[in-house]
């Protein structure tokens, strides 16, 4: 008898799991560890669409380490401050306040966007760049979007210097309000590109991308 109960329980469980599996198949076929489409909420609602797209700031302006080393790196907060020392809010909001001030015949107030305020908080300064003695400066804890397993060694500089566009792997980041993982970053996807560029080159330039295991695994 016990064996029959077990069979029923197992059968139900198996059917359920198959349902779930099939469900996920229909939406997207994903292997474990594949986080394609991952789009985590960041501590500051930084918009790549605004900076890279609308304002046209080059990727390497902030992610300068991508040319030099393994990691593209998330820019340190002092890079943000190069501009945001002066730019405290979107231009339209500043303009609106100025208009209001002229109308009311007073000096315009400093407009600080709540997101940029978070940057000042990290530095423990006011929007006027005065240090707040009661607070400690604290680095910003961004959430990593593109995660490779620990046994993979990807080198940004090798790819950037070979002329590979950032968008080839990261997608059209300049259109994203919040960064999303576009590609699955699986080994097959990497190897396909390595094979392809050996045939076609990168931007018309002949390149050689090895498909040896030790290119990435050591």
């Amino acid at each position: 008898m016990a064996s029959r109960v077990l069979t029923i329980v197992l059968a139900v469980a198996l059917t359920l799991s198959l349902f779930v599996l099939l469900g996920s198949y229909t939406q997207s076929y994903m292997l474990p560890g594949n986080h394609q489409g991952y789009e985590p909420v960041q501590p500051i609602a930084y918009s790549h669409r605004l900076h890279a797209g609308e304002l046209g700031i080059a990727c390497l302006h902030c992610h300068s380490a991508a040319e030099k080393g393994k990691y593209a790196g998330i820019p340190s907060a002092n890079v943000c401050m190069n501009c945001h020392k002066f730019i405290t809010a979107p231009w339209l909001e500043v303009k609106a306040e100025e208009d209001r001030a002229t109308k009311e015949g007073r000096k315009p107030q400093l407009v600080v966007s709540p997101e940029i305020q978070k940057l000042y908080d990290a530095f423990a300064v006011t929007a006027e760049m005065k240090p707040i003695s009661t607070r400690e400066p604290k680095p910003i804890e961004w959430v990593k979007v593109h995660n490779l397993p620990d046994f993979v060694y990807f080198n940004h500089s090798a790819h950037v210097n070979a002329g590979v566009e950032c968008q080839t792997c990261h997608g059209e980041v300049q259109t994203m309000e919040r960064v999303r993982q576009v590609n699955d970053l699986s080994m097959g996807w990497c190897v396909n590109c390595h094979r392809q560029v050996n045939q076609e080159g990168v931007k018309g330039k002949k390149v050689y991308a090895s498909t040896d295991c030790v290119t990435c695994h050591y």
Partner: protein, 986 residues
């Protein structure tokens, strides 16, 4: 009893279960399906949130993920080798030799490599102690100041006891500090004393100095028990010089001759052309005889020819190489050292192979002053003693008494980095930072100033020695400021090249050293009378009793590295035993005393005794028992549970004891000199046994007849020849090329690079620096003694050591062995999951994430260089894990690993070359083993580059490959071992 109960319980449990009817196929499939479905579901989890935290303000010179290199100086011993430290994200992760350094010339020994791990030791002191309790620096300073004020007012002896101080800044500070008192004195001592050499020069040359030995100028070298390649004074410097004279370069090739007279088998002895095995007393007699024989040749005495034919032969060789020879002795006896000076003087070696005008500062200890201090302490006449850079309670023969005397002394201040034996009996303990955390300097040899700089924000609340001293003199200056001030005041004037101090200092910090001028030291003409008196004194009488020889090992040194597990797990270069010290005996003596390997014996001499296990050592003198110093340090029981803890795990250290036994209490004083040879000892068996863990259990190249290959008694593994035979025919000693029958078709073709290594067995001394270097570079875990005894050590490179006693003489060969990256790799063909495959550059790749752990590859590897992760190994505690190299995967349980030729360095160099648009140059890539080799024995390069150093070596007639006859086409080759001895060669 407990076991029996368990069995009964289990039986009962089995009775109560319903009978198992076996799982039928349907059930199995159901279960399997369920498990599979569950696993897939589990896999579809949302991504784990990982944070990326950039700097708030990033330092300009720092790019995350890109290493920065800083030049500094090794503090592992007082030799002062130059180091380049690799810094990643604010922490040093690898030390390498500084190729430009005038002393070490790019090499770095095993100890030097391993000092890195000491930085991350969580048992280091993190704050000062007062009366054994944690205190603040203010409290310590206040109490020291109170006591010092009292002494200034009432008088009293202030003593400073240190190891050899090579730092001129530290020395100047100590001098200034002691100047504040009427009776202040600085005493230096070395636990591995060379005091007799300095004293002898005071007698013969009128200056108490340690001369600089120039091995790079010595064609004939006779060493009496001086282990200069392993432990004596400055091994890396000496190895570099020694190998320069044995490079076989030039036309016609030249080669030095090295005779080693010793009673145990030292690393140096194992490399000698002629190794003469004598008991300590016989060595003393031999030196006296040699002195007389040389004197006869010089025509200043008419003594007849010596009775010992060896002596006359050596005298002949030395005399024919006047001004190009060198006689050394590591024995700490005044008369002996004077005799050695006498020989060198008659051979006209002063000024060529021995430089006395620009002396070395690497050993400055003075045993007589130490003895006087001990007497003072005993009588209780010292008011305050400061102890720094030494551990006298542990390493002196009267350590236990000294502890009592120190307890009686009103103020004992220990300046140290851990709570050692001496700090335990101190009133005040000032926690010092690690050498990689602070500013300091050294002048190891006159005219070479080297800089030590901090590479990490210090852990805890420690304070550098110089800062403490300055604070007690009322100066609030940092170590950096003190150093700069001293350099500006003293050393800037010693050079003329740099106009501004800023340039001088900046360049010194960048390079890691500065060369400055110094006035040549003037010494008195040689004092022949002193020499004659000494020779009369030092006639010993040969004894038939056993003598005890206490010697340092290349890993523990004087015991200061006993908390470093990398060094404990590094096999002794000769015995290959790890995690222990032991009493080495010759087979004959052991048989006579009915002792076997591992039997614990009690060694008794002069009312003192020591219990140690016996190790039977081929090549050892029959009247000598040798025990290593530096073991038995307090606190080493911390290693009890090192390595994987599983059902059958045995502890590395027996509960409540230490790693090894402290042999220092057996040391003796002889004429106020620390003596390391103790005559007339008695051995008795205690009945206990102690197992050893050794990385090698086959010791001879001569295979027992039942295992021998069909056509020979000797495996073609080490090619040997003599220099005479080599000079006549450079390919002498080569094995007959075996006919290679291959199952593989065409050889692999390599269109780009084809990496390879050639190791010169003539240069390799077996010092094992490469092993620790590899361990640090490649995140190789410590496995503990028990796992080593199960042959599960994980080192990617090992140094095989073979004894050869076939022709009546005893000789040793060392052979570094790592993955040979065979073209037709046997491991690759047997891997069922393609986890080990061939790269287009000739590398045999091991893919961890593919490996399922069948271990077929390891079984099929003829070199036995593959290592399996039997466990999930701990890489120490949280702090110790900071030493891990982020460019290398930390391997998981169940995967195979092995030497990669440091592929991470190959990739880095290739990417950098591509980025800069320049071709990769020969020598741009150096694997960790090759980089640290003090002998430059390992050469890595591209076999497809006809101009590379590697290809030059492959074309050398000495080149051969091990087990070539298997047709596996290895990428690692060796160069024949050449020895300068009589005979035809192997």
């Amino acid at each position: 009893m407990a076991e029996k109960n368990d069995t009964i319980l289990l039986d009962r449990a089995a009775d109560e279960l319903p009978p198992v009817q076996g799982v039928n196929r349907r059930d199995f499939l159901k279960l399997a399906g369920f498990t599979f479905g569950g696993a897939l579901l589990a896999g579809c989890q949302p991504a784990k949130v990982e944070k990326a935290i950039p700097f708030l303000i990033q330092p300009e010179e720092l790019t995350p993920g890109v290493a920065t290199w800083y030049a500094t100086t090794c503090a592992g011993c007082s030799a002062g080798c130059g180091v380049l430290a690799k810094n990643r994200d604010g922490r040093p992760i690898k030390l390498e030799g500084n190729p430009d350094h005038p002393i070490s010339k790019g090499g770095l020994c095993a100890i030097g490599q391993a000092t890195l791990l000491g930085l991350y030791d969580s048992q280091r002191l993190m704050s000062p102690l007062a009366n054994g309790k944690a205190a603040t620096w203010d409290e310590v300073d206040r109490r020291v100041a109170e006591q010092l004020d009292r002494i200034k007012k009432n008088g009293g002896a202030v003593r400073f006891l240190t190891g050899t101080v090579t730092s001129p800044t530290t020395e100047a500070l100590i001098r200034r500090f002691l100047g504040m008192f009427k009776d202040g004195k600085h005493i230096q001592y070395d636990a591995l004393s060379a005091s007799a050499i300095l004293d002898a020069h005071e007698k013969t040359h009128g200056v108490r100095v340690l001369p600089q030995y120039r091995f790079d100028r010595a064609d004939v070298l006779v060493s009496f028990d001086a282990d200069f390649l392993g432990t004596w004074i400055s091994p890396v410097e000496f190895t570099a010089g020694y190998c320069e004279k044995r490079s076989l370069q030039g036309q016609p090739p030249s080669f030095s001759y090295h005779a080693q007279i010793e009673s145990r088998v030292s690393l140096t002895g194992s490399n000698a052309d002629e190794r003469i095995c004598r008991s300590p007393v016989e060595i003393n007699i031999m030196i006296t005889q040699l002195a007389k024989a040389i004197a006869a040749k010089a025509g200043i005495t008419t003594a007849g020819t010596p009775t010992d034919s060896t002596v006359s032969r050596l005298a002949e060789k030395l005399w024919s190489a006047r001004r190009r020879s060198l006689v050394l002795s590591g024995i700490n006896g005044l008369a002996i050292q004077i005799a050695v000076n006498f020989i060198n003087h008659l051979l006209d070696n002063y000024g060529t192979t021995i430089e006395i005008e620009r002396p070395s500062h690497q050993k400055q200890g003075n045993d007589r002053e130490l003895k006087a201090l001990l007497d003072e302490l005993k009588s209780g006449s010292v008011a305050a003693i400061f102890i720094h850079g030494c551990n006298p309670v542990y390493d002196l023969p009267d350590g236990q008494n000294l502890a009592d005397w120190l307890k009686k002394t009103p103020m004992v201040v220990s300046l140290t980095d851990r709570l050692d034996e001496t700090a335990e009996v101190s009133t005040m303990v000032c926690a010092e930072p690690h050498a990689l955390e602070t500013w300091s300097d050294a002048e190891p040899v006159t005219g070479v100033l080297t800089i030590m700089q901090p590479l990490i924000q210090p852990f805890g609340s420690t304070r550098p020695f110089t800062e403490s001293l300055a604070a007690w003199m009322g100066e609030k200056l940092s170590a950096h400021e003190l150093l700069q001030k001293e350099w500006e005041r003293t050393h800037f004037k010693r050079q003329t090249e740099k106009r501004s101090f800023k340039d001088f200092w900046g360049d010194a910090v960048k390079q890691g050293f500065a060369t400055v001028q110094s006035k040549p030291l003037s010494s008195r003409p040689f004092n022949l009378d002193a020499a004659w008196n000494a020779l009369r004194e030092s006639t010993g009488i040969a004894s038939t009793e056993l003598a005890l020889v206490l010697y340092p090992t290349m890993t523990m040194h004087d015991g200061r590295h006993a908390h470093n597990p990398w060094l404990h797990e590094l096999p002794d270069p000769v015995t290959k035993i790890v995690w222990d010290n032991y009493a080495s005996l010759s087979r004959k003596t052991a048989e006579a005393l009915q002792l076997e390997e591992g039997d614990v014996v009690r060694i008794e001499a002069e009312g003192k005794s020591l219990d140690v296990p016996v190790h039977i050592q081929p090549g050892q003198d029959d009247k000598t028992v040798a025990v290593a110093l530096g073991y038995g340090r307090k606190g080493t029981d911390r290693f009890t549970n090192i390595g994987p803890q599983w059902l059958e795990a045995k502890p590395t250290v027996a509960a409540g004891s230490c790693v090894g036994t402290n042999a220092a209490p057996m040391l003796a004083w002889n004429n106020s000199m620390l003596t390391y040879d103790i005559s007339n000892v008695r051995l008795t068996r205690t009945g206990q046994t102690h197992p050893f863990a050794s990385t090698q259990d086959h010791h001879s190249l001569h295979v027992p007849p039942h295992l021998a290959p069909v056509d020979g008694k000797r495996r073609p593994i080490i090619q040997e020849t003599t220099f005479a035979a080599y000079a006549a025919d450079p390919s002498s000693g080569s094995f007959e090329k075996a006919e290679v029958v291959s199952l593989w078709g065409d050889p692999h073709k390599y269109h780009g690079y084809h990496w390879g290594i050639v190791i010169d067995l003539t240069a390799c001394t077996g010092c094992s620096a490469c092993v620790v270097s590899c361990q640090a570079e490649n995140n190789i875990p410590i496995v503990g003694k028990d796992e080593v005894s199960r042959s599960r050590e994980l080192t990617w490179i090992r140094v095989d050591r073979y004894y050869d006693e076939s022709d009546g003489t005893f000789s040793v060969a060392h052979q570094p062995m790592m993955c040979h990256h065979c073209d037709n790799a046997p491991c690759e063909t047997v891997c069922p999951v393609l986890a080990t495959v061939h790269s287009e550059e000739g590398l045999n790749q091991q893919v961890y994430n593919r490996c399922v752990g069948t271990r077929y590859c390891s079984n099929n590897c003829p070199y036995k260089v593959r290592r399996f992760n039997w466990f999930q190994y701990e890489h120490g505690d949280e702090r110790q894990r900071l030493v891990l190299n982020p460019d290398i995967t930390v391997r998981d349980r169940g995967v195979m690993e092995k030497c990669t030729f440091c592929v991470q360095r190959i990739q880095e160099a290739k990417i950098a070359a591509k980025r800069d648009g320049v071709p990769l140059k020969d020598g741009d890539i150096q694997p960790a083993c090759a980089q640290s080799c003090p002998a430059k024995a390992i050469v890595f390069g591209d076999m497809n580059d006809p101009n590379s150093e590697l290809v030059k070596r492959i074309k050398d007639p000495r080149h051969y490959r091990v087990l070539e006859e298997l047709g596996i086409r290895p990428s690692v080759g060796y160069l024949t071992l050449v020895r300068n001895r009589e005979g035809e060669g192997a």
